[in-house]
Structure formats: structure tokens, C-alpha cells
């Protein structure tokens, strides 16, 4: 199909808007000045060195990785059965229950963070670490339900009936027939939930405390008091991680199918 030249130019502008800031960050991360300068005047890798020698970045990166992976696993464990029930069964109050499952996405993140802080940390006196884990798990459940639900919808239901007619119980049917056919959906869902948990600010903002904080929160504090390209360098490293994750998602489910 022949495309209109004006439309083409417009689209170029929009994607420039989306990518120029990212390119500027990447460029400044290699600068030699002690402040963020664009275009950079000299080349240096010292900001990358800086990232790896700043104790708080390394420590909170480890915490972020740990809680994001665990929270994602919990969300999947809670979300997969829920997604299966929502796609395969008809029952009373389905819409209402669906809305309940999606409520962590409807409630603004800062509100979730605030009420959980007040209720779990202050009232129930749960340790910060577990509160953070719980908060992120709840935050990721809707993701798990949505991505896995859509890959469940692609699995032909008659396949399950066939398995049951051959003598498989419901549980056997799920693990031997359904599960192998939604593994790509589960991997994609894991990756997306993980990155979303890793990137989360509003919920983790409230659920962090002495000794326990996540990388994005540390970065935010750093940005508010420093103006050097260390954050640019760290950003480039995190964007490489994002690209790696997108690559895995593309190879499993296909980016287009999200």
C-alpha cells in the first residue's frame, strides 16, 4: 500500500520524540565531564566504573532482582489458576470477580503503597521485606492473569475434552495438555511481570525502609541530589536488560501478540 508522505514524516517525528531522550542518555553516559553534558566533549567509561563501585546501587540491585523474581513467581502461582477459571468456566459473578482480580491495576499505585504501608507495616507489623514482596505480588497478579488468560484462549478447549475422554483427570489434563501449550505465555508473562515489578516506584516507595530499598528508589534519591552521568550509565545497563527481556518475549510469545 502506498503511504502518504505527510503521514510518514509525522510518524518519524513521533518516534524521534520517543527515542531522542534515550539516545541522549546513552551518549551522556560515555561523557568525560563531571556533569551531564550533551553532546559529550570527551569519551570515558568512568561512569560505568562508578556504577559498579557505588555500594547502594549494587545492594539495591540485588534486592530488586530478588523481590521481583519472588513476587513474579507468587503472582503466577496465584494468577494461573485464576486465569484458568476465568477463561474455562462460566459462573455467577464472573465480571465482578474479574474486576477484583484487576483491582490492583485500577487502584492508583501510590494508593496501594500507602494503604498497604498503613495496614501491613504499621498495623500488622509485618517486616518491610515481606510487605514489599506482598505488595509487588499483588501488583503483578493482573499482568499474570491477562497474559496467561490470552494464551489460554488460544488453546482449543476440545483438546482438553479429548484428554478427559481418554481418561485423564482434570488435574492431569491441565498438567499434561494445557500447561505444555501455554509455556510460552507463562514465560512471556514472567518476563513482563518481572520487568514491571523491577521498575515499580509507587508501591515500593512506601514499602521500603532502613536497609531495604529497591534500585529505582535509590536512583530517584540519587537524581534528586546529584547531577552526574552515573545515572545515565546505570540507565544504559538497565535498558540492555530490558532489550534482553524483550528478546526472550519475542522468541517465546512474539511481541506482536502482547
Amino acid at each position: 500500500m502506498k503511504q502518504n508522505k505527510g503521514l510518514f514524516a509525522f510518524v518519524i517525528l513521533v518516534y524521534s520524540f520517543l527515542f531522542i531522550p534515550i539516545i541522549i542518555i546513552a551518549a551522556t553516559s560515555f561523557g568525560s565531564e563531571s556533569y551531564v553534558a550533551f553532546p559529550p566533549r570527551g569519551f570515558s567509561l568512568k561512569w560505568y566504573h562508578n556504577v559498579f563501585t557505588t555500594e547502594s546501587f549494587i545492594r539495591t540491585f540485588k534486592i530488586s532482582m530478588e523481590v521481583s523474581v519472588l513476587a513474579t513467581l507468587i503472582a503466577l502461582a496465584l494468577g494461573i489458576p485464576g486465569a484458568y477459571a476465568l477463561t474455562r468456566f462460566d459462573f455467577k459473578g464472573k465480571t465482578l470477580l474479574k474486576n477484583f482480580f484487576f483491582s490492583p491495576k485500577i487502584v492508583p499505585g501510590v494508593v496501594t503503597g500507602f494503604v498497604m504501608f498503613q495496614f501491613i507495616v504499621i498495623n500488622l507489623k509485618l517486616p518491610i521485606y515481606y510487605s514489599l514482596l506482598l505488595g509487588l505480588s499483588i501488583f503483578e497478579i493482573p499482568y499474570a492473569i491477562r497474559v496467561i488468560g490470552s494464551s489460554l484462549e488460544m488453546v482449543d478447549y476440545t483438546m482438553e475434552e479429548a484428554a478427559m475422554s481418554l481418561g485423564a483427570s482434570r488435574l492431569q489434563t491441565f498438567f499434561r495438555v494445557v500447561f505444555p501449550n501455554i509455556t510460552s505465555g507463562i514465560i512471556a508473562s514472567f518476563m513482563l511481570s518481572f520487568i514491571s515489578a523491577f521498575n515499580n516506584v509507587p508501591v515500593t516507595l512506601f514499602l521500603s525502609g532502613p536497609g531495604i530499598s529497591t534500585l529505582p528508589i535509590t536512583m530517584m534519591n540519587y537524581v534528586e541530589y546529584n547531577y552526574d552521568p552515573t545515572i545515565s550509565a546505570l540507565s544504559v545497563l538497565l535498558m540492555l536488560m530490558t532489550i534482553g527481556i524483550m528478546f526472550v518475549v519475542e522468541k517465546t510469545l512474539g511481541i506482536n501478540n502482547l
Binding site: I22, A85, G109, N199, P202, M220
Partner: protein, 275 residues
């Protein structure tokens, strides 16, 4: 027997959500409606009467609405282009759209600090070109928050629209052309009306996202230009005014539900019409 299974499968997830999200929400916001034993809305009328809070509320609404409008204007033509591209180019463009979405909001806001800052890219460029005599204050303005929010949420708008536009049959556009409509007319008479469901989803996502974002207004607006989400944090962590924070939390939830409800009802009405 089948139904029992369904409830059993959903139970763990629902119990966790109810116990650690729904109950905490209720336990925070219910007290704001109590004055002794009687129901009262005085906390809320006080909030809106206070010009400082009122201003923050209006700023949040204004930023969100302007962000939605700009995202729609930029997103509709872009999404159309993406949806009509061949498979390979579409894949690349969608990856380019999703990449920013998966990038940390701190990074994305930081990028705009380097662009809009006093010694930032934009001020430097304007100074070099002699368009301004001294650096302008671009950061810590509503404009900065809006630019940052559009940057944050435009990909969401594009993705929601592409999903719908992809499914508009190419033959509809050709049919309009064969009946005498130029490409531009065919777009406005056929493609745009049929994209409304995607546009609505996109608007809801962008509005609720912009109205509840924390990182971008915090980094690009600072304490000068507070919005509801930065206010809630300040009240809890800096001022220790948890009651006030609960009032803000209620207002944020109600706004979010009202906007979603209104827009979804609009969508349902359009659906009845047969789209």
C-alpha cells in the same frame, strides 16, 4: 461440580487481594467518612475549599486531560501507520513502541531532566542559536510534567490503537476510496470512527496513568508543582498526616473509577450502535 472448581481455583488469588489490598483500602478510607458515629463528608468539603489542595487537584486533572489529548493527537496517525505497515516493519515499530514502555520511569524522567534542565540540552541549543539570552526555567513547571507524561504514556495509546486498527479490514478503506472518498476523507469517515473502541481504551489508560503517576511529577515538577500522588507521599512520609493522605487516596480512587465508568459507559453506548 464444575463451578466448585472455578471458585476453588480463584480462591487463593482473591483471598490475597481482598486481605492485603481491599481491606487495607477500606480500613484507611472508611474513617475519613466518620465523625464519631455519624456519616460525614466534611473532610472532603474541607479539602476542596482549601485553595492549596484544590489547586493540586485541578492541576492533576489538567495535566491528565492535556496529556490524554496530546497522546490521542500523536497516537492516532502513528498507530494507523503502524497497523497498515507490512509485517516486518510493523514488528519493528511495535518493538520500538514497547521498549520505552518497559523502561524504568526514573530513567525516562531523568532523560527529560537532562533535556529541560537549566544547563540541559534544550537551553544549550537555544543559547547557541541565540534564540534566548539566558537559560529559561523549563524544569519544575506543569509543561515539564506534561511533556514527561506524554513521553511516558504515548506508547500505551499507540499500542491500544494498533490493536483495534489492525482488525479493521483493509477492504473497508478500499470500499470508501472506490466510492469516491480521497485517502484523507476515507480515514476520517471510516477508519477513525471504527477506531473509537481502541481510542477509548487508550484514553482510559493514559488518563489513569497520568493522574496517578508518581515518578514523573516528582522528578519534573518537584515540590513546586505538586499533584495528588506526590501530595499523598508528602503527607504520609514528610508530614505524618495519615488522615489527610487517606482523604487524598479516596479522591484518587473515586476520580479513577468515575473516569473509567464514564468512558466505559460511552463505549457501551457506541457498541449498541453496532460498531
Amino acid at each position: 461440580m464444575k463451578k466448585k472448581w472455578a471458585y476453588l481455583l480463584m480462591a487463593p488469588g482473591l483471598i490475597v487481594i481482598v486481605a492485603f489490598l481491599i481491606i487495607p483500602i477500606l480500613s484507611s478510607i472508611l474513617p475519613t467518612f466518620h465523625d464519631g458515629d455519624s456519616l460525614t463528608f466534611s473532610s472532603y468539603t474541607d479539602f476542596f475549599k482549601d485553595s492549596y489542595y484544590n489547586q493540586i487537584f485541578m492541576r492533576t486533572l489538567r495535566i491528565s486531560i492535556i496529556t490524554v489529548v496530546i497522546c490521542a493527537i500523536l497516537g492516532v496517525p502513528t498507530a494507523y501507520f503502524v497497523s497498515k505497515s507490512n509485517k516486518k516493519i510493523r514488528g519493528i515499530l511495535i518493538a520500538c513502541t514497547i521498549f520505552p514502555l518497559l523502561t524504568n520511569s526514573v530513567i525516562r524522567s531523568f532523560a527529560w531532566i537532562t533535556i529541560l534542565g537549566r544547563n540541559g540540552v534544550l537551553n544549550n541549543a537555544l543559547l547557541t542559536l541565540n534564540l534566548i539570552a539566558e537559560p529559561k526555567r523549563l524544569l519544575y513547571t506543569e509543561g515539564a510534567i506534561i511533556v514527561g507524561s506524554v513521553y511516558l504514556f504515548l506508547p500505551l495509546m499507540i499500542v491500544s490503537l494498533v490493536g483495534v486498527m489492525e482488525n479493521i479490514e483493509g477492504e473497508l478503506f478500499e470500499a470508501a476510496e472506490s466510492l469516491g472518498a480521497s485517502k484523507i476523507k476515507a480515514f476520517f469517515k471510516v477508519i477513525l470512527p471504527l477506531s473509537v473502541p481502541g481510542l477509548i481504551v487508550g484514553c482510559v489508560l493514559v488518563f489513569t496513568g497520568a493522574a496517578s503517576a508518581y515518578t514523573t511529577p516528582q522528578l519534573l515538577g518537584g515540590n513546586r508543582k505538586m499533584v495528588l500522588s506526590t501530595l499523598i507521599y508528602q503527607q504520609t512520609m514528610t508530614l505524618g498526616d495519615w488522615y489527610g493522605a487517606s482523604v487524598v487516596a479516596t479522591i484518587m480512587i473515586v476520580t479513577s473509577i468515575l473516569v473509567m465508568g464514564t468512558i466505559n459507559r460511552l463505549a457501551a453506548k457506541l457498541n449498541e450502535r453496532g460498531v
